[in-house]
Amino acid sequence: MLRTAVVMAKKDLRLEWRARVLLNQVLPFVFVVIVLFAFGFDAKVEILTQVTPGLFWVTTFFGLELAVSRAIAIEGENQAQVGLVMMGVNPRGMFLGKVFAIVVEVLVLEVVLSAGIAVLFNSPLHEVALLAGSAFIADIGVATVGIVLAGVTEGLGGSLLPLLLFPVVSPVLLSATKVWQYGLEESPAKALPWSELLVGFSLIYLVLGILVYGVVLEG
């Protein structure tokens, strides 16, 4: 399973690097969002600091959604996924590989986004380990649900994924936003219950995803 996951993730990352979909579509969006917010709130640093967690996770969610759609789309090209199913490729390995590739792609996006926020909002990032750790775990939670839902809604129209994804991952996004808020306020102790909620939901989603993805693929 792990070997399949590694090969799958390497393949997805290689395809993304060559097609540069995330780079070309999300990074300009990230740049526009940061610049517009910076101009919109002018030099009101305290307001910018307050909106940073929400802004960060709205933008990241957009990137995650696009990365999930892209991860599913590349398997639809030439019916590659049918080939994988037909050849009995381990579905759990496929699932983990896809989740891992999405998380890596979105982490890159988050690094750029964080740097942009720090520079343009004049908002130094405190508690970096907490922020980075929570981002990593939340990415896993959202990517996990995204891959499963994208598989379920495949063929039912692309507009269903965003509609279904947000309500299901809202516990992850809300707790990640709170962790970021307390992290930026240098109050890591307050972030603890939210961190536990974040880890709990992401772990449940990951385990459920591993268990059900094979059934989703067969469907």
Partner: protein, 222 residues
């Protein structure tokens, strides 16, 4: 499951009907395949050839009747069956932005294909290293088909389901592919080929089924 003087029974369909949406793609279909055979499935477009292959691979389900592949029911044991099956489909089932060689490597690492054998197949079918180094999307339709075929033929399995293998190929490649089917059958594998190339496949098939309106009729045995 009983075997016969023809060898070990690999697949058996009895009174099978398959509906795709509401369209009856297979109707009361009967079909047998034994170890080491090359079976030719012929018939006009829409007669049910591809559905028959997909049914044997567990990609579609029978509404009525019984289906057994290696003594297993694809409805409940599709994954176990697929470990013993290779399927060359109409679609290339490859990644456009990977090179031919990278596609071979990927399927070798995940899907039980023998990389060296796949490489050998591509060379036998007339591809050179330069072709394999190019992105899949820039290759011609025939070159793409050859890479897909190489992967399907190099998979370590007992049953090969081959759908329209000659489409898009030049005459030399068609002949090499046919000799490959014969070699695989001699090695004890079962090869089921759906094709419109009547003369070509008839010459090497041990048995031929003619499909018409979703039903299969055995027309000859070698």
């Amino acid at each position: 499951m009983t075997d016969s003087p023809q060898g070990r029974l690999v697949a058996r369909l009895r009174d099978v009907t398959v509906l795709l949406d509401r369209f009856p793609a297979l109707v009361r279909c009967e079909f047998d395949a034994y170890e080491g055979e090359v079976i030719f499935v012929q018939g006009p477009n829409g007669s049910g050839k591809t559905t028959l292959l997909r049914l044997l691979g567990g990609l579609v389900e029978a509404m009525t009747g019984s289906v057994f592949v290696f003594g297993r029911d694809p409805k409940t044991e599709a994954r176990a069956i697929r470990r013993e099956v290779s399927y060359l489909a109409h679609a290339y089932q490859m990644y456009e932005e990977l090179s031919g060689r990278e596609n071979l490597e990927f399927f070798a690492a995940t899907a039980g294909c023998d990389f060296d054998q796949a490489l050998e197949w591509t060379h036998r079918l007339g591809l050179i290293d330069r072709d394999l180094g190019a992105r899949f999307r820039v290759l011609s339709a025939g070159q793409r088909k050859k890479i897909s075929a190489a992967i399907a033929l190099s998979r370590r399995c007992e049953l090969l389901l081959i759908d329209e293998p000659h489409a898009l190929l030049d005459q030399v490649s068609k002949a090499r592919l046919d000799s490959g089917f014969t070699e695989l059958a001699r090695a004890g594998r079962t090869v089921i080929v759906a094709s419109h190339e009547l003369d070509r496949i008839s010459a090497l098939a041990t048995r031929t089924y003619r499909m018409s309106n979703g039903s299969a009729t055995l027309v000859e045995s070698a």
